[in-house]
């Protein structure tokens, strides 16, 4: 014997060591992905959470005769650089709307300028030493403090970081998603029902199937080119509107809904169909009264996941012009609008450092919405899932 037992068992040990090594290497790959996720969320939270806080200053506003034309005259000179320009701007308007203000003096908490806000959050800003000292003094006097930034949720976009909010983007997202669902859900479900329950198994059907799978993998930006060339240039749908954005996203969501609906329909057992046919239902009655209701939870889950995907999509919307500066809430489906990811993109491009936290804040809101949507889908699946 050339190999002694010792040698063989040595070899065996080596082989088992290799096997264990593979286990740990593959485990570390998964750990790497998990580590990335942790770093990512920690980074976003640390950058974005300050956006939910906003510095406010307690100042005295003198509603004098001068102030009714020039808002600057209403506040102390020392403060005028520290408060947001928007405060000064609305003072004449306030006085016009409420003449009894004239001659009174009021103490108010008003928005601080973006640079004050950033200074208090410990970021580098372009303030001179005197101003910094003044802010420190005001903080000690309790006249400057951080408050919950409710304006972030109640205002639209602005070029002033202290004023910029996410409301117009949220409204735009809701409107766009209404259009997307209104188009993609019925068409997607009908397509799936046709392919799964009615279509003959011929070349044409196979072509449709391959085509749907391919559509799911086409780069999203190409859907944007389609939206631009067909919807905007050919059909004349207004550019930047929730209508054109929703239509473009609907085409992207369609394959997701079709594929998940087909899976849901396929999971309904044949015996249900046989039973319904057995009591004399027509094909359509079988589908409408038996198969579809049973498949509904699966269809809803798939649609919610498709919706969440569409909600995070930006590239096609850039092409159809939905990345716009929208300070006011959009009121109609044909007006210019923006959506949450597009708002994030716009803010990420702002040169002002203060917009970094706005961007991350917007991302936190977006992720919160997406994660709760996905969680809802998972819960729905868990609750209504039926094993046959």
């Amino acid at each position: 014997m050339s190999d002694s037992y010792d040698q063989i068992s040595q070899q065996l040990k080596g082989r088992h060591r290799k096997s264990t090594r593979l286990k740990y290497i593959s485990m570390s790959a998964l750990a790497l992905a998990a580590a990335f996720l942790l770093i990512f969320f920690a980074d976003m939270l640390s950058k974005g959470l300050p956006a939910f806080q906003q510095a406010m200053i307690n100042i005295e506003i003198n509603y004098t005769e001068d102030a009714s034309t020039n808002g600057r005259a209403a506040v102390d000179r020392d403060f005028s650089t520290l408060i947001s320009r928007s405060v000064v701007r609305v003072i004449p308007l306030q006085m016009r709307n409420d003449p009894s203000l004239l001659g009174t003096t009021q103490n108010r908490w008003v928005l601080a300028d973006g640079s004050v806000d950033q200074y208090l959050k410990g970021n580098r800003v372009r303030l001179d030493d005197e101003e910094m000292a003044r802010i420190d003094r005001l903080v000690e006097e309790g006249k400057v403090e951080m408050q919950f930034n409710s304006g972030f949720f109640s205002r639209g976009d602005s070029k002033m970081p202290e004023l910029a909010g996410i409301l117009s983007a949220v409204v735009g997202t809701v409107m766009t998603m209404i259009v997307t669902l209104a188009i993609a859900f019925p068409i997607g479900v009908m397509t799936a029902v046709y392919l799964e329950e009615f279509a003959p198994d011929n070349r044409l059907t196979q072509l449709v199937e391959i085509n749907i799978n391919n559509l799911a993998a086409i780069p999203s930006i190409l859907f944007g080119l389609l939206g631009l060339a067909i919807f905007i240039n050919f059909f004349g749908v207004p550019r930047s509107s929730p209508l054109v954005g929703g239509m473009t996203l609907a085409l992207m969501t369609l394959p997701v809904i079709i594929i998940s609906t087909r899976t849901a329909l396929r999971s309904v057992p044949e015996s249900i169909r046989h039973a319904a046919f057995g009591v004399g239902c027509s094909r359509w009655q079988v589908v409408k009264d038996h198969v579809l209701p049973l498949a509904m939870p699966g269809i809803m889950t798939g649609s919610i996941i498709g919706l969440a995907q569409a909600m995070g999509e930006t590239a096609p919307l850039i092409i159809v012009g939905m990345v716009a500066f929208i300070p006011d809430v959009t009121a109609s489906f044909t007006e210019a609008a923006t959506v949450m990811p597009a708002q994030v993109f716009t803010w990420a491009g702002e040169p002002d450092r203060a917009f970094v936290e706005k961007t991350a804040g917007g991302i936190i809101v977006l992720l919160a919405v997406l994660i709760s949507l996905n969680a809802a889908a998972v819960l729905l699946r868990k609750k209504f899932e039926r094993r046959w």
Binding site: H16, S19, T20, R21, L22, K23, I25, S26, M27, A29, L30, A33, A34, F36, K47, P186, M190, T191, Y194, L195, F198, L207, V208, N211, I212, N213, N214, A217, I218, P219, I221, L222, G224, L225, L228, A229, I230, F234, G236, L251, I258, S282, R283, A308, Q309, G312, E313, T314, A315, I318, P341, A342, V344, F345, A348, T359, A360, I363, L367, N374
Partner: protein
Amino acid sequence: MQTNQLFLIFCSVLLLLGLAAFFVGRSKATRVRASGTSMHAQPDQYAWFAVVATAGPAILVSALGAFVMLLIGSEIPTFSLLLASLAVAVVGLALGIKFIRSNFHARRAIETVILWVLAGAATISILTTLGILISIVGEALNFFQMYSFWEFITGTTWAPGNSFLMAAGRGEGASGGAEFGSVPLFAGTFMITAIAMCVAVPVGLLSAIYMAEFAPSRVRSFAKPMLEILAGIPTVVYGFFAAITVAPFIVQVTGAIGLDASFNNALAPGIVMGIMIIPFISSLSDDVINAVPDSMRQGSLALGMTKGETIRDVVVPAALPGIISASLLGMSRALGETMIVVMAAGMRPNLTINPLEEMTTVTVRIVAAMTGDLEFDSAETLSAFALGLVLFVVTLVLNLVSVIMIRRFRDKYRVNNL
């Protein structure tokens, strides 16, 4: 505004006609039945038939009319078109009521209509592909009339900046005009894609191997949703992360070892894109590895192979077509990915193999051309469609090859759920 009001009036009149059709139809059918004749369908089905006969042709006529109007320019006024549709509706109503007879199969008629509607819905997906193809190819052809295809494919300078001069008729030959040599763009795209694949394939494949072969079910039930979260993060968020966190980090690290990196280096978007693709590769590979028949594992173990050797020499080779298919899908996603590169990669076309330098990609240039204040028929805007065409063809080929590979795997092991 007036069109809107007209449309509203049209819809409400149509609705009223439909309601009338329903009730008149039902009462007639009930009357016929009450007189003792046996009928082929229920009264409600006759009523629905009357509704379909009223609304269907009218909607079809108005939609067709609107489409024709768009095609040939507005020659039929909206008002007369809608009026004509309403007339069709009234005729349909009369005919629908007339058809309510005991020997008429109302249910069968409705179901035929439903079948056609469903089939119509199924064609939308084909129309979408056609729409993408037509819009891209049409505009790309316009571009290739202005600029030679050969120079587009082989040129190494991408300088669209002067295209507005060309559009204004002041471009003086090739030297003064814009240049659309796409080689640097494709080089940048493939560089970033290659970096992404270097991250995604090993991590994704190894995670899949761990989840399918080693992980206890508790870890598995926790790891799968975690990877799904990774897949659910919007690309614009990844782009922000790449630009604001990863790129400066890379600049710092490379600076520490004495290398000079641009803040728009190709490494940051590449790595982040790779992380984005991990779940695509891992979930499909996981499915494929699970689909490898257990008898193969048992055979290998029975011959005395260790678990690691079984995985390396039996399971992974068997699953290889599926793994390659997953990687190709991931690659096609990386090629078409837009937001990460728009936010983190550069704008300047640069033909280099140094990933620390700034480079740009096809999708970045498409976005740049589309967001500029250019006329739609300027050469730069049209160049976006030419780039889009190339992107479409490349991703289409990758997707098809991927489908063929997975089908081969499925046929070999007779797996049905892939």
